[in-house]
């Protein structure tokens, strides 16, 4: 598995160059123009997802996917390596944004941790949704799927939130949310971690099945 990971790291080195450059550019802009790293956060989330899709699509583009099926590694291992890479990538980018937020944050470290933690969970949910679709529909449709997935998840969250605001009113909603955060934060964190873990596990199992059935 080490060789496969190394191959993906080397690919990441090549495809991550542009993203790193844009990320640094956004970080500087954010630093000079505002009191948080909003651009970096948004860009980081999208960049992680696109890079994950790219890692699979480059395998297809270079015919590595076909070749790798004939190598002495199981198909399950091929998928495992991809998920490990995605987790590492999402974690690394979230940690980087967190460091930047902590460096500049004026609202205290708790707010930065909650914001980045939420984004990290959102990122992992997007990955869990998108990757099986990429394996199923091949990487050609990956970009559309990616945009669709981000849009879909965001729209779903926004719709739930708006309905909630309409139902209880803005002032009540803020109060209730503060109450939840203050009293049930640990439970909320555990719940989110559990939900994301389950989603990732299901996503991984579906991806393994799809890859095991794949033929050339």
């Amino acid at each position: 598995m080490g060789g496969l990971l190394q191959k993906d790291f080397l690919l990441l080195r090549d495809i991550g160059k542009q993203f790193t450059f844009i990320f640094i550019f956004f970080a500087i802009c954010d630093y000079l123009s505002s009191d948080d790293f909003g651009f970096c956060r948004s860009f980081g989330t999208v960049a992680v997802l696109i890079t994950c899709v790219n890692l699979i699509s480059y395998d297809e583009y270079y015919h590595w996917d076909k070749y790798s099926f004939a190598l002495p590694v199981s198909r399950r291992q091929l998928v495992q390596v991809k998920y490990i890479m995605f987790l590492l990538l999402a974690t690394l980018v979230s940690a980087l944004i967190l460091v930047l937020e902590l460096f500049l944050q004026e609202n205290g470290w708790q707010a930065a941790v909650v914001t980045i933690g939420t984004l990290y969970a959102f990122n992992l949910v997007c990955i869990a949704l998108v990757i099986p679709l990429v394996y199923r529909f091949t990487a050609r449709k990956a970009l559309l799927v990616t945009v669709g997935a981000i849009g879909g998840v965001t729209a779903a969250i926004a719709a739930i939130f708006v309905s909630y605001l309409n139902l209880v009113g803005q002032e009540n909603a803020v109060g209730q949310l503060e109450n939840i955060f203050n009293n049930y934060l640990a439970l909320l964190v555990v719940g989110v971690i559990a939900l994301v873990s389950i989603l990732l596990f299901i996503s991984y199992q579906i991806s393994v099945r799809l890859v095991e059935k794949k033929t050339f």
């Binding site: 060789g3 590595w64 070749y67």
Partner: protein, 282 residues
Amino acid sequence: MSNLLQLESVNKEFEQFKLQNITFTLPAGTIMGLIGENGAGKTTIMKLILGLQQKDSGQIKILGYALEELPLSEKAKIGLVLDEFPYPETFNCREVGMIMSKIYQNWDNKVFENFCTRFDLSDKKVLKTYSKGMKMKLQLAVALSHQAKLLILDEATSGLDPVAREEILDLLLEFIQDEQCSVLMSSHIISDLEKVCDYITYIHQGKIVFSEEKDLLREEYGIVRGNKNMTAELPAEAVVGVRQHQFGEEALVWRAKLPQGFSVEPASIEDVMIYYNRRKEG
């Protein structure tokens, strides 16, 4: 002598094409050439052997194991050269070596480096600057650096200049010298196969026409040339196929079925393939 590869009554059906009853055996220490026109089924056979396609029925045995039960440790003894270059072109050959050394347990980096030097594969250049011949050589260098016993080459020499092809063919002959290793290669360049192969398997429209020793093919078949009505004099059971041209006729014949008195010239593998093809079309 053990068999490194065995296909028995392998069938695979697609919407518009089917492989039927594919049976052949590749003994250790030999090279087998798969020949056939485009779309005959050569690549599909390779894919079935490599597990890139699932067969509908029949049995494939590799290194003594049924394909479905082939352990990864044995799979590591298969060297691959595919028609499509499989390594990311932003890498260099040293990076490819680094990756493959972690995938193959029996990887020998010294052997790989020697091949890279011998093939003039610079690690200062990224792979996208390599020529087609260099890319093929890199695949071959990888395939020969992990103590493979069975080498599978799909159109490995096509698109290469004669010098590069000759170099690759020499390497294949070196590879089988210890009588323990074998090569299965498909190619359109029949002269290449004629130089190195011990066995020739001819596939036509998804079926095996013959799978025989190359030398036996030469002994079995011959070409008879004559005037325009020459083939009428030949016994029908001796004629495989006929070709008519401006000055007369040529026929591929089974030597054993031909009565004495005819002047028979040696037939090349290409002759055998072309005449068989005409016969099938006829």
